[in-house]
């Protein structure tokens, strides 16, 4: 008889999948039975999106160990490419689910391309520089999308780059019956909202499989090795740029898919929706869930998104509270004195969990 002896990490992974599946089934039944409030139902898709964003950012920050402050930039690229894909295919592809799937893939691909373009130069930089450059990248994306005019008619897509701010949608010269998809700083309007909770669930599952399986594989080990000791990693023949880029681009692609899902959940989206504050909010989720801890990111993302709904009176102090927690978490997990204190308080401490 085969002995049933699973590794600890395998058990944690299965528990994560199981938790997500059970939660989805419960919420799905409640939603269809009308047991969720209107506002709660409306939050399901955004929460799914943020879970994916947090898990994907954790790949960069927790697993690779590089701080990216431009995650919202990739989300934004994904959102707008997803919107363009989906809106262009209205009337071409009847099935909304298929259009959504195509939009998510488009979002992932374009965000991945952005990831490569940013990653190749940026990943050569040292920690703090990388953080500030990714931040700059997020701002650049926001500005560039603000200059974008996109429309579609029977001849295909019309795209204009409105650098001086002098052009209007008229300059797209759309035919009769053509649709404007993105109107510069006014963003995308008239979006068919085709995102569903089920799609959100599927995207979370795909994200978890990608990130968890990657982490447990040869490539994932190499990525974590770079985080722990770059020089030693090179000495055993690990190609630094290749694996940094692998983590960064995978993270960007997943964020892009989440962005597409998020964008197609609202009838109008502007580029400043995905500003620096969103990057920070995703970072908060990663830090609160534990760096490198994947199920932690899932829970933290859900909680941080739900809190404003649950504690309305607390809303004014929410961000202040987050800031304080952020500082305290960092000091508690990194200061030797605090670590010892924690170690004494919790006699059988599991240690900093890198496997999620």
């Amino acid at each position: 008889m085969k002995k049933f002896n699973l590794k600890k990490t395998t058990k944690v992974d299965f528990a994560t999948y199981l938790g997500v599946i059970v939660t989805f089934i419960v919420l799905f039944v409640m939603q269809n039975g009308g047991m969720l409030s209107y506002s709660m139902s409306g939050m399901l898709v955004p929460i799914c999106c943020f879970i994916v964003m947090a898990v994907s950012l954790n790949l960069t920050v927790g697993i690779l160990g590089e701080l990216s402050l431009g995650h919202a930039g990739f989300v934004s690229v994904g959102a707008f490419s997803g919107i363009i894909a989906s809106q262009s295919l209205i009337g071409v592809i009847e099935s909304a689910s298929l259009r959504l799937a195509i939009a998510l893939v488009a979002g992932a691909i374009f965000a991945a391309i952005a990831g490569v373009l940013v990653g190749i130069p940026v990943l050569r930089l040292r920690g703090d520089y990388l953080a500030i450059v990714t931040l700059a990248f997020g701002e650049i994306i926001k500005d560039l999308i603000n200059c974008l005019l996109v429309g579609i008619d029977s001849k295909g897509l019309h795209v204009l780059f409105n650098a001086k701010g002098l052009l209007t949608v008229e300059d797209l010269h759309l035919e009769e019956g053509g649709r404007v998809i993105i109107k510069g700083a006014q963003g995308a309007t008239g979006i068919q909202t085709i995102s569903t909770f089920t799609a959100g669930f599927i995207l979370i599952m795909i994200t978890l499989v990608v990130v968890l399986n990657l982490t447990r594989s040869r490539s994932g080990r190499a990525i974590m090795a770079l985080r722990d000791n770059r020089i030693a990693a090179e000495s055993v023949g690990i190609n630094v740029t290749k694996y940094k880029l692998m983590a960064f681009v995978t993270s960007a692609a997943l964020a892009g898919a989440a962005g597409a899902l998020y964008g197609l959940n609202f009838s109008a989206v502007i580029s400043s929706t995905f500003n620096f504050n969103i990057s920070i909010e995703i970072l908060l989720m990663v830090v609160f869930g534990g760096l490198g801890n994947i199920w932690g990111s899932v829970i933290a993302a859900a909680v941080i998104r739900l809190l404003p709904e649950l504690l309305r009176e607390f809303n004014d102090y929410r961000m202040l509270f987050y800031a304080i927690i952020l500082i305290l978490v960092m000091i508690a997990t990194n200061n030797p004195t605090f670590k010892n204190m924690l170690g004494k308080l919790i006699p059988k401490k599991k240690g900093a969990e890198i496997d999620g």
Binding site: K7, K8, V209, V210, N213, L214, R216, S217, R218, S219, G220, R221, A222, M224, A225, R227, D228, N229, I231, A232, A233, E234, S235, V236, G237, I238, N239, V240, M246, G292, G351, A352, I354
Partner: protein, 283 residues
Amino acid sequence: MDRFAHRRGKLVPLPSDALVPERDINSSPILEARHLGIEFGGLKAVDDFNLTIGRTEIAGLIGPNGAGKTTVFNLLTKVYQPTKGTVLIDGIDTHGMNTVQVSKIGVARTFQNIRLFSNLTVEENVKLGMHNQIKYGMFSGILRAPNYWKEEKRAHEKAMELLQIFDMENLANHKAGSLPYGAQRRLEIVRALGTNPGLLLLDEPAAGMNPSETAELMENILKIRDTFKIAIMLIEHDMNLVMGICEGICVLNFGKVIAKGSPEDIQSNPVVIEAYLGKKKEG
């Protein structure tokens, strides 16, 4: 100390008048460094370094603190690019190569200040050493394709085999960072062996070890050489270790080679004694 003498090879000169153990005379040397040098802002940290190491030789690199020993290792592994000279590994010119490429042609090392992947397990550390021997890509890993399972199983078995050298199999699932100091040093050696090297560079492997641990380490270094038939070059301050197991010894002072030869030659060399103890006062 001479209980290791029978396991040391006798040094004989090559036609190029470099010294290698007698048994390595018929095979090309694993390492040939010629006129190797590096300058840091005008300061010659290593200058005109020449060394040949036989295919199964255990060589020692010794010298006072700051003599440039670790710099030699950094030059051989391309952590620093030499400003002068050439390094041939297994006959291959390493000019223009980087650390990763040098690792792929068979140079592995440990570090003076331990550099483990401390948040990963002992087994994962060894598997990282074997990184370039494990053959499956990112997508096979994500999709858990058949070759993922096959290769991981093989890697696990090989890792356990390597850990056995130091009786560390039972620590496989511990975090590398949580190991005691001596075990961390040993794990670094195992990880380096994972790369399947032809030349293993050990930077102060016995640092911080007590005499019995050091004696055990000496046995293990010999065992590694005999099992894997590889060359080992080590930097060490513990002269019992160096004189006990090294066949050829190279002495470095102020970035220059001041003596080369067998342990006996080195021990009686006046230049070496002077470098270590200082010049006798005249009168």
